[in-house]
Symmetry: C2
Subunit: 183 residues, 2 copies
Amino acid sequence: MPTVLVILPEGFEELEAIAPIDVLRRAGCEVTLAALGPGIHVTGRNAITLHADLPLDSLPAETAAPLFDCLLLPGGPGVAHLRASPAVRTLVERHHAAGKLLAAICAAPTVLHDAGLLTGRRYTAHPSVANELTAILADERVVRDGQLLTSRGAGTALDFGLALVTALVSPVKAGEIAASIRA
Amino acid sequence: MPTVLVILPEGFEELEAIAPIDVLRRAGCEVTLAALGPGIHVTGRNAITLHADLPLDSLPAETAAPLFDCLLLPGGPGVAHLRASPAVRTLVERHHAAGKLLAAICAAPTVLHDAGLLTGRRYTAHPSVANELTAILADERVVRDGQLLTSRGAGTALDFGLALVTALVSPVKAGEIAASIRA
């Protein structure tokens, strides 16, 4: 089954992580929750604390290390930590170079911007970062452009998750899950 | 600010807990996450582990103990544990008798049914429990009837959370949050 790495910094937006993880695991994807920063616990912007699957720095760092089919970046104030992390930048660049899916929601598309990946691409993001990302498609809840999948914010996190299931598994599976959760 | 007690059994549906907790905390509510069962960690149906705020059995059990403004019950397979818990039944009955808000989503309205609170009331729930709850209003995403607030499933968890903000804080605040999360 497809593999997904979710990177969780302190201050991540909980719903933007949980909604996609929930539906991706329902779809049978192997989703790994990696804590950025020390320790295995990560506390989100709404003071909800998750026990991650592993610390990000426990993943093999060498350039020959296996990649995931998708890298998933939630938003929230914690995006500042994602942007400041050389390890996250390296993961983004390696996954991009290998043609893997890069998924970012809310303020997290700025991480893709920092890596120079948004130039000339169609994407959306939260309006709070519109001063940095001028080409936000504000009317769209989720935007897919090649290997980039972006979404607006916590209010579109479930659409974002279902779009990931569509991309990584199948539109049929996404439809089955949407029906079963009564979306 | 209004107080909310969320009861988390093993096997709870993560999105059905996180979405309302997220928006209730954004609205300024004091939300307490109580772990049913031993320990402070609770793992949901999709293998996401939360660090709760306290174990449910650390709350004062005596009948004079303070109540919360709202009792919130997420769905998922863990509802079986909610239904089997005398402590949960007592909390439901005490909050109902005091006129507090009782909120249940997905399969969790069966807990209200077990306490005899659904007779003659308007409510919804997940169709998987339709054999027990015959009067499910399947076309409505959230149903408010007096002090009962019910919803369909993970796909309506954000609507459920925003309806709780409307009920406990104000419709204006719910609208502000919906706009800020780009719902």
